[in-house]
């Protein structure tokens, strides 16, 4: 049996299914995906971005990818930042800069250029906090695609 993981649960992979058997091979990646979620969403050293804001941004990125159930799961941990989980929310000041950057990296990755990083720096965001935003965004891109891919493979198994 696999430990409960966000990716398997969100993809609807049932215990005892053939696909669960395939994911339970002596490979480490599914379990490690869950460890990565903890490190990126709930790190001990969170820098400028607290766990609740990270959860709000994760929910927002899940929505940009059409993953409403995953978004709702993350939004429950978003606390006072929950409004930012709505992709229509724009925010002000540094928040607006962060939201604009996160949306672009998530959904229009190929268009990101040096000026996007310079713009964050110009609002006073420190380089380590820029890296933290990128890791959060990048992890979500991965986790969401694992979920969507596994869900499609259920069709292959059927």
């Amino acid at each position: 049996m696999l430990p409960e993981t966000t990716a398997l649960a969100a993809a609807g992979i049932d215990a005892g299914s053939a696909l669960e058997a395939a994911t339970a091979r002596p490979r480490r990646d599914i379990r490690m995906t869950q460890a990565a979620e903890a490190a990126v969403l709930r790190p001990a050293e969170a820098g400028a971005w607290g766990h609740d804001l990270r959860a709000a941004l994760a929910a927002r990125i899940a929505r940009l990818n059409g993953e409403e159930a995953l978004a709702q799961g993350y939004a429950t941990a978003a606390g006072a930042h929950v409004a930012l989980a709505d992709p229509a929310a724009r925010g002000e000041g540094v928040t607006a800069a962060v939201l604009g950057f996160m949306d672009k990296v998530a959904a229009r990755t190929r268009e990101v250029a040096a000026g996007d990083i310079a713009a964050l720096q110009a609002t006073g965001i420190a380089d380590p906090d820029i890296v933290r935003l990128c890791e959060l965004n990048a992890f979500l891109a991965y986790q969401i695609r694992v979920i969507q891919g596994l869900r499609l493979l259920k069709g292959l198994a059927a």
Binding site: R25, R28, E45, G66, G155, A157
Partner: protein, 197 residues
């Protein structure tokens, strides 16, 4: 001086960070541990030094990367590289595309497929099996994903097993992650040739 590359190449460029990398001399214990720096191993790339700003993510990411790309699984290493390359082409990550096109060519002992992909783009002619792999990985890399039952059916028709398809999901998804670090946090550059040579 160096110039920023805009076109895909298999000739791996230099990666120039857009943020200041961690200075090894001022690195914390946790950073040195995640970087696996020892007195006999002090060579760390700028890319990894940039990621060391977020040490907890770096620490989980490297073993996950190695498990997905190199652990013994269903799909061949060359085909996982093709999945990685498809994602990198969708996200226009010149650096990742170069590294993984070069690995594909090395594993296949042929530059034919990657030459054609870089010359003609995603529509380049390829075997039905490579086509199914590339199209699935590329569609899954869109935001939102455009992968659907038709791409899965193409995998099935190309004879790709469930275990292989799982490896493909993981390798394509992993480059959704890698591309958003490499392409966002730095520029792929090539030093300028000295004039007059």
């Amino acid at each position: 001086m160096s110039r920023v590359l805009r076109k895909f190449t298999r000739n791996v460029p230099h990666w120039q960070p857009r943020v200041v990398p961690v200075d090894l001399k001022q690195a914390t214990e946790a950073q040195l541990d995640a970087l696996q720096v020892t007195p006999s191993n002090t060579k760390v790339s700028d890319y990894v030094l940039v990621l060391a700003h977020d040490v907890e993510s770096l620490k989980v990411r490297s073993p996950l990367f190695n498990a997905i790309m190199y652990d013994r699984g269903g799909m061949s290493r060359a085909e996982r590289e093709l999945g990685a390359l498809a994602a990198s082409m969708v996200n226009h990550c010149i650096y990742c595309a170069a590294v993984h096109a070069a690995r594909h060519a090395q594993l296949e002992k042929s530059t034919e497929l990657t030459d054609r992909l870089f010359r003609e783009g995603a529509a380049a002619e390829m075997s039905p099996r490579d086509r199914a792999i590339f199209d699935f990985a590329a569609a899954l890399s869109d935001c939102p994903s455009t992968a659907g039952p038709e791409q899965v059916q193409a995998l099935r028709e190309a004879g790709i097993t469930e275990a292989e398809a799982l490896d493909l999901v993981l390798s394509a998804a992993l480059f959704g992650w890698a591309n958003r670090l490499m392409h966002v946090l730095g520029d792929p550059v090539r030093p300028e040739e000295p004039a007059g040579n």
